[in-house]
């Protein structure tokens, strides 16, 4: 396999809804540990690609490889267990659960005790629960959410809910993290802080991050490689500098956005 060192690779990935082609011939090659940006005007198909990668949508064309393994036919659950986790454009936390429990739900798959252990309160249950709690708390600490552990998720302010979604996704132990507009609705200070956190996350968990974002300063500042999408197709791929100076991109997207 030539794509052995790539964490994510897609070939001709596409989906049609009825007669409408939402995404066509989408190719991406992501290296392990890379922070990669996916940008494009509204309706370009960015979130659709996230839904394809996480198997919320069944692709009509093409293949997805994670670590060289073809995962095109895997289920939503197994794609997560194989190492892809995500956040959502519209925050989708478990609102009635506490902040801590949201992260613990994310860790569901990695918890090793069974029903009997928990009913009988066997030492395995106690030890695992303690370990889960500690790991969940350390994730919360990373996002400065520790003091909100027992607060209902719906009672968190907006910016903190976004952070909690990332913490919950990290709880699933991903190799590839998909962030859908992580900085949406954040003020410049919060955005700057988020950039640092995302870098820390990448180092600490040695994972690759693919992110959708409209904030150009954010994208250009953090991503090592960027793919621009327009009308469901790849318009350009390159480093931030290449993208910034690509006339087609400027015409389609950046130019109209900056003025």
């Amino acid at each position: 396999m030539t794509n052995g060192r790539l964490i994510l690779k897609t070939e001709n990935l596409g989906i049609e809804f009825g007669g409408l082609t939402a995404v066509k011939d989408f190719d991406i090659e992501m290296k392990a540990n890379q922070i990669y940006g996916l940008i494009g005007p509204n309706g370009a198909g960015k979130t659709t690609i996230f839904n394809l990668l996480t198997k919320v949508y069944e692709p009509t064309h093409g293949s997805i490889y994670l670590n060289g393994k073809d995962i095109t036919k895997e289920s939503i659950v197994s794609v997560n267990q194989l190492g892809i986790a995500r956040t959502f454009q519209n925050i989708r936390l478990f609102k009635d659960l506490t902040v801590l429990d949201n992260v613990k739900v994310g860790m569901h798959h990695s918890v090793r005790y069974n029903l009997l252990d928990s009913i009988l309160k066997l030492p395995k249950y106690r030890n695992e629960e303690k370990a889960v709690r500690e790991k969940a708390m350390s994730l919360l600490r990373l996002f400065d959410l520790e003091q909100f552990a027992d607060v209902k998720a719906s009672n968190l302010p907006y910016g903190k809910q976004r952070k909690l979604e990332i913490a919950r996704a990290l709880g699933t132990n991903p190799k590839l993290l998909l962030l859908d507009e992580p900085a949406a609705g954040m003020n410049p200070a919060e955005t700057a802080e988020l950039m640092e956190t995302i870098k820390t996350v990448r180092e600490k968990f040695s994972l690759a991050i693919l992110l959708i974002e409209h904030d150009m300063k954010f994208v250009m500042g953090i991503c090592e490689r960027i793919t621009v999408l327009n009308f469901g197709q790849v318009l350009a791929t390159g480093t931030p500098d290449e993208i910034r100076n690509n006339p087609e991109v400027i015409a389609a997207y950046l130019g109209s956005d900056e003025e």
């Binding site: 429990d101 739900v105 029903l115 928990s118």
Partner: protein
């Protein structure tokens, strides 16, 4: 003294309703469907216990465990065969399927065991305790029924809040798609929910038949409907709601029987229910559901 005696009897009956109501409320909370076959699982549980004690001479506690096992498997089987293929169908299709399963179980019981009423054997004979110099006689079975109900509620609440399976259930109840994306297997979680609800139905059937010892194929209908009512009364989807709804319904029914009219008791109970739902449409502890636009 009479009032106290009626109250305790009512709490005993209400405890049985509450245990059954748990099955409705948990399945509704997680699978978002009304499992109208739940009452008939109680009926099967009663027959299993009846034969386990009567034919196979099992000790009472073993018979209860056996009945729990059979009902648990039955519940999971019903879900897998009848409801799972309809996971993405409209709620009406699922509802009608549930009614179909209910009749299927009743008719199967008729064919297998006949439609005559059988007398449930005395599985537990604890006698009475008397208080206040014999002025108040309480059946120990009633007290044990109430106790069993409380223990179940406490254990279930701990289970839902403290274990990973419980958290997965709450996550599925809120948002199945997101739960799946977090690596939670929704099918397994729904199966576990049915298993718990049906296992509890078996316990309820033994408690019910120990107080009213008659077993027939339609045994589960009335308690099933009343427990469903209790679940709605308390706020469907809520576990404490099922507990409170069940107890209130049992007490109301018993008091109406004792003080107003034994023929009209059901009508009176449902009248109260209608009034409560007019004032609080989501039930006593139900959550307001805000539709996303």
């Amino acid at each position: 003294m009479d009032f106290l005696s009626f109250l305790i009897t009512g709490l005993g009956l209400g405890s049985v309703y509450a245990i059954i109501a748990l099955g409705y409320t948990m399945v509704y909370g997680i699978a978002k469907m009304l499992n109208f076959a739940h009452g008939d699982v109680i009926m099967i549980g009663a027959y299993v216990a009846f034969f386990a004690v009567g034919k196979f001479n099992m000790p009472s506690l073993v018979a209860v465990l056996f009945s729990v096992l059979v009902c648990t498997l039955l519940g999971v089987l019903i879900e897998r065969l009848a409801y799972k293929p309809l996971r993405d169908a409209s709620t009406l299709s699922v509802l009608i399927t549930a009614i179909g399963v209910s009749y299927f179980l009743q008719n199967a019981a008729q064919i297998l065991w006949g439609s005559d009423t059988k007398i449930f054997p005395t599985m537990f004979d604890f006698g009475n305790i008397s208080l206040f110099n014999g002025q108040l006689q309480i059946s120990l079975l009633t007290l044990i029924t109430i106790l069993v109900c409380i223990v179940i509620m406490v254990v279930l609440t701990l289970f839902i809040n403290k274990t990973k399976t419980g958290k997965a259930m709450r996550a599925c109840s809120e948002d199945k798609a997101t739960a799946q994306l977090m690596g939670i297997n929704v099918d397994t979680t729904i199966s576990i929910t049915f298993a718990i609800g049906s296992g509890l139905a078996a316990i309820a059937s033994v408690l019910l038949c120990s107080t009213y010892p008659a077993v027939n194929p339609t045994l589960g209908s009335m308690p099933g409907i009343k427990a469903f009512t209790a679940a709605v009364f308390g706020g469907i989807g809520s576990i404490p709601g099922a507990f409170i709804g069940g107890l209130l319904l049992g007490v109301l029914e018993t008091l109406a029987k004792a003080y107003i009219s034994s023929q009209m008791s059901d009508a009176i109970v449902f009248l109260v229910l209608i009034i409560v739902l007019l004032i609080k449409p989501t039930g006593l502890l139900g959550k307001k559901i805000s539709e996303k636009v």
